[in-house]
Point group: C2
Chain length 301, copies 2
């Protein structure tokens, strides 16, 4: 088998994780979570999103969070933006990187962004132009890249086509999202092989939700195809409290624990990250899915 | 990557799963669980263990469970035995297969069986002899094969040496157990490769606990080395309610869901198995870890 010497993790808990939490989380708690994550050795943190406050009330305080951050040198703070308005807010807030998003399936794109894929690509081109002028790098997220809640299977060729479009727009990285956690290792291996063959010249990231428990298996399969960039959310934050079948990203500490056990460097202090995972659980007031937190800190459970 | 066309699953929930549950579970509920599992297409079920009732009160009714089983044709009902006394009880109860157990680490063997590894091997030889006379096949379990709670890392060479001893005693199959869920994919791949090279002539099974969330990743790694026999417990039953860091086996339905999504046949009806997983959760009266149950039946959560 083929194993990388190191992997690079983007922590998405403060954004993809918290955005669906029912309990309002004060700015100072979000800032504390982000800062504690930055202190574990994580070098990329998706901190906020600049979506409409009515669409995602939990992220309405994005500017306040960015303004209150204690910046750790070497850490990239990322803001997700759905459109030009969001990009303007993000750039004004001083994010280090912008993430934009489009779905691989039309129905999900409509549900998520109220637009066709073509309309979203047009908007992303404008976002890309703004980011370029500001000298801020941007990453293109492709949601439902491995399956759609409305349409089921998604053609890999459709994902590749979108990825090429984003690369040609100037994305320095592209993240393939298994938004609903239906990806399986064979599919992931084939997709990553295809991506490297068809879309050279851009960094590939993989974003796995753990809805069916296969996220780390998918990470292993992606590594076999050469992938080294992965998203995680501390504690496995994410999912929607109103949709019990939903579930969050792979828990960052579970990813770190597996990689480090295998001799694959992550740069992250696992013990410190497990502490942050317990802190995240206190913030959201519900038991999180991550397993290593429980395994390493049984006395607290 | 290398994928098998099919895998063979041993369901261990009724034994390895239930044995640590605090809530006493009546014979009829155990029998119902076993029967419902057999009706999903699972062909191997570890139903009971014949250990001393004081050591594992939950399994004290093993004879009653075996006597009450509605046998499904083609299903192998397995009984775990720690010693000659247990083997006599198992054979008298009509099990189709015996499982014996030894740990790869002396401290765990002492804690589990109150004996040295050498003493346990002597006892296993007697069990093997009884089983052979009765015409009942037996499988040798090697616990702590990937790590020990007392001693930490376990030498692969020690595991291989034990496996050879069990094969030479007449075991038709050997199960390597990651008892505390510390195995990682690189280790699993290397162990399985070594096993096939060094211990030919015996069936290899892998038994992964999901304590750190890497069980399915370990399954994928084992498949790359050619393994096709895996244990699972419905719902991820297992672990000890008095030791919150502990956790059960990989949830059988999570294993089935991943394999079937990949086009790897399991012979199991996933939907029926998910129903049994909800039933198992009701029996034990606590939320189980398996993820696919929640993903496929959100309306019940």
């Amino acid at each position: 088998m083929r194993w990388p010497e190191q992997i690079f993790i983007t922590e998405v808990g403060p954004r993809d994780g918290l955005q669906n939490e029912a309990l309002p989380i004060p700015v100072e708690d979000k800032v504390a979570l982000i800062h504690r994550l930055a202190q574990t050795g994580l070098r990329r943190i998706e901190a906020v999103s600049f979506v409409h406050p009515k669409a995602v009330p939990q992220m309405a305080d994005a500017e306040a969070v960015m303004a209150s951050l204690q910046r750790v040198p070497g850490v990239t703070y990322i803001g997700l933006v759905p459109n030009v308005k969001g990009a303007q807010r993000a750039l004004a807030s001083g994010v280090d990187e912008i993430a934009t998003v489009v779905s691989a399936s039309p129905s999900h794109n409509r549900a998520n962004l109220n637009a066709s894929i073509e309309e979203t690509l047009e908007e992303m081109a404008k976002v890309a132009s703004l980011a370029e002028k500001a000298g801020v790098p941007w990453c293109g997220y492709i949601s439902t890249a491995f399956g759609c809640p409305y349409e089921g299977p998604v053609e890999a060729s459709k994902v590749i086509q979108l990825a090429k479009a984003l690369r040609d727009m100037g994305a320095y990285a592209i993240s393939l999202g298994d938004t609903i956690g239906v990806a399986h290792p064979r599919q992931v291996y084939e997709m990553v092989c295809l991506f490297f063959k068809e879309v050279p010249g851009v960094e590939l990231r993989l974003h796995f939700h753990d809805t069916r428990g296969a996220a780390l298996a998918n990470v292993v399969a992606a590594m076999q195809a050469g992938a080294i960039h992965f998203d995680g959310s501390v504690g496995g934050l994410g999912g929607c409290p109103y949709a019990p079948g939903a579930s969050g990203n792979v828990a960052t500490e579970d990813l770190v624990a597996m990689a480090e056990a295998m001799g694959i460097a992550t740069g992250v202090d696992l013990k410190a990250l497990v502490d942050v995972s317990w802190f995240a659980q206190e913030l959201v007031g519900r038991e999180l899915d991550g397993k290593v937190r429980r395994a390493l800190r049984p006395q607290r459970a």
